[in-house]
């Protein structure tokens, strides 16, 4: 099964490499292929823009467009006259999005999850997310909220088509105005406390940056214009733009700009926020938490329903009566009535609730594998494994801060020999056996098998266990063995390697082992887990040294689309330390990179400017080669696929997929298509 996952991952990631920029599935985008490998033909002809043809639901598949059916509870409301008929709620027949799936489902039941309150907003946010364009498991994007798009030759102007008659969850029409409102009234004025996303920015060949312009064509068409080519706009939009629209009609009743400061503040207080700013942030960014805030999502939070508090002990998201997707039979989605979230204060409780069959879908730890198997019958669940795109197991990634403040250490950390020493000082076989309870093998930090830039050599580079050689390497780095049996700096001062990690990373075991191995080759090592926030703080202020299991591990689905963990773009991943800040501030702050690291940054600039996808891939591979050469991130164990437990009776759940943020973690399972048999 694992191998299948890898094969899939291979296709997926290669495609992203090649297809970026080519509007792969444009036009026909409104139809979701059953998530299988895409037709190679599309892959063969990059950069060719595709005309968007208004799509209709092929009758062959849905029968007459007129007969749509809906969930019983909604039917009841319609009959009671409390709700317009399903035809009126859905977009125009031609523009309805049809989800094609392995099996057509039936209505009813609910999904139950455990969650940690508002902290888990991304969990239930991702599984209900509806972006303009969404990823498919094969790594290509397809229109979602959008119906389709055109793009001009040099990828500077995108024309996006929306779905006629599509409605917000409060029944108000969804139009191009909502898109422009979002961009001009919320993104640019930073209404929700976020600076404009990179996906709306573009750097031209001269390196000067400019932001996109949105322009309404008609109610259901808008244009996005860039000063310079932006071939990966849609993918980036799908990743960090996520959604690109807001209910103008709703915001015009609360935003200061439209109703005045104090009025807005009053509104905010009514809604329970400290002030208009907080209101803007919460309703604008984490809007899916907000009762009554119109969305396009399959499940929404109603203003008047009892369990609509996303921080309550029990939180329920209910079916959106105006949801705009149907299945082949014309049944309005979603199948499942509601999503229920039970607040837990300790992971063990989630485990118990999985065992007793309460929880329907959850990712679980391999450490609990045995007890899960033991109670399979009772819980009525089964295992699903989704591939990971992490370069190495999270707790087995060691990031040596290349810009660590201590000069002597910096020299050391920048020295490949030292990194090699730390790498080969560890018996990966034993390490993996203990840390993964025998599920994983030892490995170097490298792209997932099958992903872009993966090579056998890379995965095995510096992985042989050889303490003697490690010692030699350390000495070659200028360290001298001290009286206490530990290496000192040439000037005789003690050398202590301070490993840092955050408390809930569960890296204690691996840290313990590493300390042992390092100690054996004569490196005095300390280890203290601090609160995640503290670690983050250290990273941003460049006070970190060697970070194990960082909050932002080297894991990327595509270095082109999501580079920040492996390429210095801002204060983010620990290994490149202050270089990130240097890049972000265009050299004003931070530490200027040197050598290969500098080369990496330069390459990334080229990458961003590159128009041609082939060229992009070429550059990307070069960048990865630099990583392979330097092993900036030391990995000790392969990343295990995400182990998922799901109720046996749930249908249409992807047997194998990739668990990564780009695919919105669980979101790629398209929960609106899942149902109980």
């Amino acid at each position: 099964m694992k191998s299948r996952v890898i094969a899939l991952l291979m296709i997926a990631v290669m495609l992203v490499g090649m297809l970026t920029g080519c509007a792969g599935t444009a036009g026909t985008g409104s139809q979701t292929q059953p998530t299988k490998a895409p037709e190679p033909t599309k892959a063969s002809q990059p950069t060719e823009a595709v005309k968007a043809t208004p799509t209709t639901i092929p009758d062959s598949k849905t029968g007459s467009t007129s007969k749509f059916t809906e969930a019983p509870d909604l039917k009841a409301l319609v009959d009671a006259g409390k709700l317009p008929s399903v035809e009126k709620r859905l977009p125009d027949p031609g523009d309805i999005m049809v989800e094609y799936m392995d099996s057509v489902g039936k209505y009813g039941e609910a999904f139950t999850f455990t969650y940690s309150g508002k902290n888990a907003q991304w969990f239930y946010g991702k599984i209900t997310e509806e972006p303009l364009f969404r990823f498919k498991t094969d790594g290509t994007i397809e229109p979602n909220v959008a119906k389709g798009f055109d793009v001009n030759e040099d990828a500077t102007v995108y024309t996006v088509y929306l779905r006629k008659g599509m409605k917000w969850s409060d029944g108000m029409p969804f139009t191009a105005d909502d898109v422009l409102f979002f961009y001009y009234e919320m993104c640019i004025p930073e209404t929700f406390g976020k600076s404009l996303w990179d996906c709306f920015k573009v750097k031209d060949a001269q390196g000067n940056e400019s932001i996109a312009e949105f322009e309404k064509v008609d109610d259901y068409t808008f244009k996005v214009k860039f000063q310079a080519p932006k071939p990966t706009f849609l993918e980036e939009l799908a990743i960090n733009g996520k959604w690109c629209f807001a209910p103008a009609h709703w915001y015009k009743q609360i935003l200061p700009k439209f109703i005045g400061e104090e009025e807005a503040n009053k509104k905010a207080k009514e809604m329970g926020y400290s002030d208009a700013v907080a209101m803007g942030k919460e309703t604008g960014y984490y809007y899916w938490n907000v009762p009554g805030r119109p969305t396009l999502r399959p499940w929404i939070v109603f203003e008047n329903s009892p369990n609509n508090d996303c921080d309550g002990d029990y939180f329920v998201m209910e079916r959106n009566p105006y949801y705009w997707k149907v299945d082949e039979k014309g049944q309005q989605l979603p199948y499942i009535d509601e999503l229920r979230f039970i607040k837990v204060s300790d992971p063990q409780q989630t485990l118990l609730k999985i065992l007793d069959g309460t929880v329907d879908v959850a990712a679980v730890a391999y450490a609990d594998y045995d007890v899960l198997v033991e109670n399979m019958e009772r819980g009525g669940y089964e295992f699903v494994e989704w591939a990971s795109v992490s370069w190495a197991d999270l707790v087995s990634q060691l990031h040596l801060n290349q810009t660590v403040k201590d000069e002597k250490k910096r020299a050391l950390f920048q020295n490949p020999d030292f990194r090699q020493a730390l790498s080969i000082a560890v018996d990966r076989e034993e390490y993996a056996e203990i840390i993964s309870d025998g599920f994983a093998q030892g490995r170097q930090a490298a792209p997932a098998k099958g992903a872009m830039g993966y090579t056998e050599e890379w995965a095995n580079k510096w992985t042989e266990y050889n303490p003697e050689k490690a010692k030699q390497l350390l000495e070659s780095c200028g360290l001298v063995m001290g009286a206490d049996g530990y290496y000192d700096f040439a000037d005789g001062t003690d050398f202590v390697l301070n490993i840092q990690t955050f408390t809930d990373a569960n890296a204690d075991d691996s840290a313990e082992l590493l300390m042992k191995y390092f100690g054996e080759v004569g490196i005095k090592t300390t280890y203290k887990p601090v609160d995640r926030s503290v670690l983050d703080n250290m990273t941003t202020s460049n006070d970190h040294e060697a970070v194990l299991a960082p909050v932002t591990p080297a894991t990327t689905f595509s270095i082109i689309l999501r580079p920040d963990t492996v390429v210095p773009v801002r204060n983010y991943a620990p290994w490149y330390g202050a270089v990130g800040n240097w890049v972000a501030s265009n050299g004003k702050e931070g530490v200027e990179p040197t050598g290969d690291l500098k080369k990496l940054c330069e390459l990334y600039d080229q990458l961003r400017a590159a128009v041609n996808a082939k060229e992009k891939e070429k550059i990307a591979l070069e960048m990865l080669k630099l990583h392979e050469k330097n092993i900036w991130v030391i990995g000790y164990m392969e990343a295990l696929p995400t182990l998922i437990v799901k109720d046996k009776k749930i249908k249409n759940f992807p047997e194998n997929s990739i668990f990564c943020d780009e695919f919105r973690d669980f979101g790629i399972a398209h929960f609106q298509c899942l149902y109980y048999e």
């Binding site: 139950t112 508002k118 902290n119 907003q121 991304w122 969990f123 930073e190 406390g193 976020k194 600076s195 996303w197 960090n240 329970g272 926020y273 400290s274 700013v277 907080a278 942030k281 919460e282 009892p306 369990n307 921080d311 002990d313 029990y314 329920v316 229920r340 039970i342 607040k343 837990v344 204060s345 300790d346 063990q348 409780q349 118990l352 609730k353 065992l355 007793d356 309460t358 009772r378 955050f502 601090v530 609160d531 995640r532 926030s533 503290v534 670690l535 983050d536 703080n537 941003t540 909050v551 932002t552 920040d564 801002r570 204060n571 800040n581 972000a584 943020d661 973690d665």
Partner: protein, 332 residues
């Protein structure tokens, strides 16, 4: 009596103030602040923050100022408009957050306390009257076991046992049904069922102390002269024990009441986390971890105040129990 209570309240104002300062100081003691913890939590979920975003957040929450200024602002608002500030994490007034938990917290705490005393008083009495008897050893032994077993472990063991036996781990105070429909007479049973584990876990750890005091006190009282006098009057043993000794022995138990109240409040935090009890304890813990300082601060204050109130109540009961105190007050 009234002015006595008033005096007590006045006395406790400086205490609370001092407490609030210490509380606030303690909360901000660990490095970082709410924003750092928030940012890292969200970026772990794939959300992206630029340094400007962070700066903006910090400014918005007024965390760019030193802690004592934040403290004074907080205090000012509390005193002037009774505004305890906003919880960063919940993004709503601290007071509403607390109020959403406080009633349940108090109820549960009281239930557990009542249980504790219902169980431990008779046991203590028994073991005092049958000192060194088998029953004495068994009961006190059980009490000690409760004391000796770390709550968090006992809790999870019981939950798993309950899962193995009944298929329902009895997590939290409410079944999903109650969570959905709210507490009704019809589902009161399941609520009580869910109370079993908390009561056993938290209750047992407190019974021991009470049993001990009662036992010691009774043994002490029984040897008093007035017992002899009463006996010489021809009073029956039961009357002697219940009319004279028990009432006298209750004295220290009652004065210990306030203490056990506070220990239930904070002492049960860990158990509450393990058992997923929707009471203030876990909220406080979270708030402390994320440095949601106004929330944490207010909760700690509330607890402190509740403890003081507890002390007050127990003193009143004491006065009722023991005329000498009443007398002392009247004369003072």
């Amino acid at each position: 009596m009234r002015d006595y209570i008033l005096k007590r309240i006045l006395m406790f104002i400086p205490t609370v103030l001092l407490m609030s300062v210490i509380v606030f100081f303690i909360i901000q003691l660990p490095p970082g602040d709410y924003i750092t913890s928030y940012v890292s939590r969200m970026s772990a979920e794939g959300e992206v923050f630029t340094s400007e975003d962070i700066a903006r957040l910090r400014e918005q929450y007024g965390l760019d100022k030193p802690w004592y200024i934040q403290y004074f602002k907080w205090m000012k608002n509390i005193i002037t408009e009774g505004d305890f500030g906003y919880s960063f994490a919940y993004n709503r007034p601290v007071w509403t957050v607390i109020m959403s938990r406080l009633p349940l917290t108090v109820t549960v705490t009281l239930i557990i306390m009542i249980f504790t005393y219902l169980v431990s008083l008779p046991i203590g009495l028994y073991s005092a009257l049958h000192q060194y008897s088998v029953g004495d050893f068994i009961f006190t032994g059980i009490g000690f076991l409760g004391l000796a077993t770390p709550n968090f472990l006992l809790a999870i063991i019981l939950m798993f046992a309950s899962f193995k036996l009944t298929g329902d781990p009895l997590i939290g105070l409410f079944s999903e049904e109650i969570l959905r429909e709210g507490l009704k007479l019809s589902n009161l049973g399941s609520f009580l069922k869910h109370l079993i584990i908390p009561i056993v876990v938290i209750g047992t750890s407190n019974t021991c102390g009470v049993i001990r005091t009662i036992r010691a006190q009774m043994l002490d009282e029984i040897t008093r002269q007035y017992v002899l006098t009463a006996r010489a009057k021809g009073v029956s043993e039961n009357t002697i024990i219940y009319k004279y000794c028990l009432r006298a022995a209750l004295n220290p138990v009652v004065s210990g009441l306030a203490g056990s109240l506070s220990s239930l409040f904070s002492g049960s935090t860990i158990s509450a986390i393990v058992m997923n009890m929707a009471i203030l304890g876990p909220v406080l813990y979270e708030a402390l971890k994320t440095q949601d300082m106004y929330l944490a601060g207010t909760i700690l204050l509330t607890q402190g105040i509740l403890v003081v109130i507890g002390t007050l109540l127990s003193d009143i009961v004491l006065a009722w129990l023991d005329p000498r105190i009443r007398y002392a007050e009247r004369s003072s």
